[in-house]
Subunit: 254 residues, 2 copies
């Protein structure tokens, strides 16, 4: 019940930071920032399971790229209600919300022993060009702008998921999205570990945790997935994508 509030209290950051040598980084092929000529400005940070990368209110000190492990970000509103706003896999960015106000507006914590690289904003504004995955070159700032544009588009899609979909479809979409991103991060597309708790999933999808639990059972009974605690296997990706079921809640499109 009060776990949301308790989470924020527990944050003591033992800062393990060190300059990151992008050139030598094992994750280079995965990292969207590794192409930058000024990669050496990046700062690597190791975060233990449950510990925070930063908390809401912290002074903005850069954009982050997840390097290894798993992160979740969440915000807490005026009434103390928590909202998980996203999960971050290796190769994905977070922290863009802090740019405008100069302070992060959400909390980000590791769901595993993880590491992330902090990219100071100056890295984008000073560095003239960035090497793209496809080999092309573009101004570094443009990379940042595009990155944010993508985030906006993604968030908008979340409106659909939260607002217009049944609980079941929300979970299906979530698993499908996760599968996609797991694959992008180099894991198996069909068999991976859910690093977050049911509670986190439920909160993220704006459902009761009981509902999530029941849906997992339901999907398993239909041989669409197989779950054992946090180990997940996707058995029928097609069914998962279609959100197959009797009721596909058809709301008035307006």
């Amino acid at each position: 019940m009060n776990s949301a509030v308790r989470n924020i209290v527990v944050l003591n950051q033992n800062r393990q930071e060190r300059a990151s040598a992008c050139q030598a980084c094992a994750k280079k092929p995965l990292c969207p920032a590794a192409g930058s000529e000024s990669g050496s400005q990046a700062v690597q940070k190791i975060v233990q399971n449950g510990k925070a990368v930063y908390v809401a209110g912290n002074k903005f000190d850069g954009i982050y790229v997840a390097r290894s492990g798993f992160f979740k970000s969440y915000a807490i509103d005026a009434d103390g209600v928590m909202q998980v706003t996203g999960f971050h896999l290796p190769g994905e960015f977070f922290g863009m919300d802090g740019i405008e106000s100069g302070r992060y507006s959400d909390h980000v914590e590791a769901l595993d022993t993880s590491s992330a690289c902090r990219l100071p904003l100056e890295l984008f504004s000073s560095a003239p060009r960035t090497l793209q995955a496809d080999g092309s070159v573009e101004p570094a700032v443009l990379s940042l702008v595009k990155l944010m544009s993508r985030t906006i588009t993604r968030d908008r899609n979340m409106f659909f998921t939260l607002g217009k979909m049944s609980a079941r479809r929300r979970l299906c979409v979530f698993l499908q999205d996760l599968s996609e991103r797991m694959a992008q991060s180099g894991y198996s597309r069909t068999e991976f570990k859910l690093c977050m708790s049911r509670t986190d999933i439920a909160n993220y999808l704006c459902l009761a945790l009981e509902t999530v639990s029941r849906l997992f059972g339901q999907l398993q009974a239909e041989n669409i997935i197989a779950v054992d605690r946090r180990e997940l296997k996707i058995l029928d990706m097609t069914a998962l994508m279609q959100g197959d079921e009797v009721h596909t809640r058809t709301r008035k499109a307006g």
Copy 2:
């Protein structure tokens, strides 16, 4: 009240677009982009009620600032389901979603005879500095980045509204937000015209239109607001903000 507010001057403009002289613009004090040294690159566009500023798939040709009137933006997903993603008042930006892919991903249409100024992206990247409202000066690109950062933060807040709030609170928050922005655009904070249909509101808040209609009635019965068709008066701002009611749905925070 059949409004005297109906003083819409219909502008019969031959050209839909024309170069905008920011210096001479009457809305200059309101416009967040007016300070730019390269303001003359902006292109003004007049859009009739119900007509589109752009549609999904259009090639990205810049960020827009609403100048007068009222806009709504919406997306249509793979299944053809529509989702209203936002409303835009004078002085507000839209179109940021198109930057990354090079194409707009949503549709934007005028809910009144309206005008907006298109700001080509080069305006931000080439112009070295922007004059801020407070008189300070900063690189133009940074303005754009901050703008997008703000949008992200705002969208995140929408998660709360859609996911964690009861229908009633959603509507209250919506009206409160609208009131705030109306005031920012120079209108009355407590008495203004809802330019959008009930259907649009419902869609935006992910509710059935009947629910919205019922809630308007309910809020009126409690003397929190007074509605006559699309004319709205806010009678009790405090109650509106608190979302006062018997049930304030207390979901598990997780």
